[in-house]
């Protein structure tokens, strides 16, 4: 009966109506793919725009305006023997011998007094450092590229007063003023003069802070994840803990800053602005991310592997450390990358614990005052003056490169541990 009823109208999958519906289905698939593709293209375009913009602006940040000054050491009367130059007071000794005046004298000769006045007031220190590095250079005439003043540098960029722009253009045309790659940017620390600032202080602060964050967040996060997955009984208390940890991951970062201020600085009042406190604060933020990723990774280890290990007589701890943890490690590392990347870019909580201070020397260790890259970027972006805009972009590039290096390392480790089953 029913067979007959179906056959009366012909096979339902061969009618025109069916073909029309089929066409519609294909059309909707094409639309969906197109939408997905445009989303990807949009993100790529935004990324390229961002990186391109940063690179174009930032390249200037890695350069500085330098004046060409030839110094004739033999006729200057400067004396520097290898022994005295290796002592710690070498630069002061050179200052006592009148090196600042000598530099100024040769600058006057080479550039004219008007231009020589725009030599950076720390320029002689660059000469002094060169002599300390290689005392042999005082035996003959030597050409130096010395930092120009911030005003002249601005003039070279087409900013500042008319006179300064005219002077910069004249010197530049004579080949006495040029923008050169500034190695010192990667070696110096914060300063008030954009010609003198460097990123090393903030970079070192970031590295030290990340070390503390990793050392605290990784073991605590992994142990918490292991305990919750492998040992904790499934009851109301563990549920409460689970919900709390998930919520912790969603807490706005500034709250963690307040916590760091209220708790860590109360325990260690002398370590204000120190990477130790910053790292501990950021570890609180990173830990829940590692716990959540770690638990998912541990859950994903097939039960058959656990059974196999138990069946040959492995104890629960051996099952965890010989089988579960190695197999979960790639997933745990993925969570760690995400958490650490977030911590590296974090500014707000660190402002709360005083890491926004002006720190002109790189930190000596975990307990000395420091700032970190994102805070340094934030501080420089507040400064007026073209010089700082470029330096800010350069600092952003340094931050992005640091991020890439850190993530690259973690991805390398993850791929190394990744195994298939």
């Amino acid at each position: 009966m029913s067979d007959q009823a179906i056959n009366e109208g012909g096979a339902p999958t061969r009618t025109d109506a069916f073909k029309r519906r089929l066409k519609k289905r294909y059309a909707s698939e094409r639309r969906f793919r197109l939408a997905g593709l445009s989303a990807v293209l949009f993100s790529v375009a935004v990324l390229i725009f961002l990186l391109g913009n940063m690179t174009i602006n930032g390249i200037g940040g890695f350069q500085r305006a330098e004046l060409e000054v030839p110094i004739d050491f033999p006729s200057s009367g400067i004396a520097a023997d290898a022994a005295s130059m290796s002592s710690s007071g070498a630069i002061q000794a050179l200052e006592m011998q009148g090196l600042p005046d000598i530099v100024q004298f040769y600058a006057d000769q080479a550039l004219g007094e008007e231009a020589a006045a725009e030599l950076n007031d720390h320029a002689w220190r660059e000469v002094a450092r060169a002599i300390v590095a290689d005392p042999e250079i005082i035996r003959e005439k030597h050409d130096f590229s010395l930092s120009a003043s911030a005003k002249l540098a601005a003039g070279l960029n087409g900013e500042g007063s008319q006179e300064m722009q005219a002077l910069a253009n004249r010197l530049s045309a004579e080949g006495k003023l040029a923008k050169n790659f500034d190695v010192g940017f990667l070696q110096r620390s914060d300063a008030t003069d954009p010609q003198k600032v460097g990123i090393w202080g903030a970079l070192k602060g970031s590295i030290l802070t990340m070390v503390i964050t990793l050392l605290m967040a990784f073991p605590i996060g992994v142990l918490a994840a292991l305990y919750l997955e492998e040992y904790a009984p499934k009851n109301r208390w563990t549920e409460i803990i689970e919900v709390s940890i998930n919520n912790l991951a969603a807490v706005p970062s500034i709250i963690f800053g307040l916590l760091g201020l209220a708790v860590f600085l109360w325990i260690f009042p002398n370590y204000r602005s120190a990477p130790l406190i910053g790292g501990m604060t950021l570890a609180l933020m990173t830990m829940p991310v590692i716990v959540i990723a770690g638990r998912n990774a541990i859950k994903a280890v097939p039960p058959s592997i656990r059974d196999g290990a138990l069946a040959v007589g492995a104890s629960p701890v051996q099952v965890v450390f010989h089988h579960v943890l190695p197999l979960a490690l790639p997933g745990i590392l993925t969570g760690t990358i995400i958490g650490m990347a977030r911590a590296l870019g974090e500014t707000a909580p660190l402002l709360m614990i005083g890491m926004r201070a002006f720190v002109a020397t790189p930190p000596d260790g975990f307990t000395s005052p420091a700032t970190v890259l994102p805070v340094q970027i934030f501080l420089w972006s507040d400064e007026i003056g073209r010089g700082f805009v470029e330096r800010t972009s350069a600092a952003i590039i340094v931050l992005l490169v640091f991020l890439l290096v850190m993530n690259g390392l973690a991805i390398y480790l993850r791929n190394k541990f990744e195994k298939k089953w």
Partner: protein, 263 residues
């Protein structure tokens, strides 16, 4: 209903003896009052339709059910006279004495060598490299896998074929020299040729170890075992010599099952 035990089943030499064992998952009773003697020199097969509790019962014999928090075991199971659920029995030691092979081959994602060496290493059975080498070779030879893998011992165990993986798991189980080997449907994921090899292997191992095999294939039970227990709905219905169970079943349910009326 009481288990029917065939009259001509001599009960000497019991390696393991279960007495009035019931297993609960929470409120649900999965095994109801099972008593059985597992002989030391034979292969014992548990047969029965899906969900009859044969795998659950098998897992109580080396306490693998301990990993399921809701599982609870009543009754007594002894291994050579020792209560395996008693306080004097250490579960790690028990599992070293009663090994297990699972339904789906589950080699560790390590090298073939490390798969075999893992058990001896954690139990401290092999201290030196050459001792471990000897155990690995002996176990692989007994599992009939040596000739196929001797040139690639450092390759991953998961790169082997399904049948080879299962023989690797058997080799892993015998590497710690157990007294009993439990096999939970060891051929259900394998093709007929690999199945034939495993069955051959079970036959070779049967003199050396007490073997208990759960299978849903009656032909397999008939081929490899000397003792057969038929499970149905959590109860053990009938137990006897394999030949008796298949040619001369006493219970009607056993007869229906082996003639293919259900299951």
């Amino acid at each position: 209903m009481v288990t029917v035990v065939h009259p001509n089943l001599e009960l000497a030499n019991a390696k393991m003896r279960a007495s009035n064992v019931s297993v609960y998952y929470g409120e649900k009773k999965a095994i109801d009052d099972v008593s059985i003697d597992i002989p030391s020199q034979y292969v014992t097969a548990f047969i029965g339709p899906s969900g009859c509790g044969k795998s659950t019962f098998l897992r109580t014999l080396n306490r693998m059910n301990d990993t399921i928090p809701s599982a609870r075991v009543e009754g007594e199971i002894v291994l050579d006279g020792e209560d395996i659920y008693g306080s004097a029995m250490d579960v790690v030691q028990l599992r070293a004495r009663v090994g297990m092979v699972f339904q789906k081959p589950n080699p560790f994602p390590k090298s073939i060598y490390d798969n075999i060496a893992y058990g001896p290493r954690i139990h401290g059975l092999a201290e030196k490299k050459d001792e471990t080498d000897a155990i690995v070779e002996k176990s692989l030879r007994r599992a009939g896998l040596w000739d196929e893998v001797k040139d690639r011992l450092l390759d991953s165990g998961t790169a082997l074929s399904g049948g080879q993986q299962q023989r690797l798991c058997i080799a892993r189980a015998i590497a710690v020299d157990p007294e009993v080997i439990l096999m939970d449907e060891p051929c259900s994921a394998l093709d007929p040729i690999a199945t034939a090899k495993i069955e051959e292997l079970i036959d070779e191992l049967s003199g050396r170890y007490a073997i208990v095999i759960v299978t849903h294939s009656m032909q397999q039970a008939a081929r490899v075992s000397q003792r057969t227990a038929f499970f149905h709905l959590g109860k053990m219905v009938e137990y006897g010599k394999t030949s008796d169970i298949f040619t001369n079943p006493i219970e009607k349910r056993t007869q229906d099952y082996i003639t293919g009326r259900y299951g």
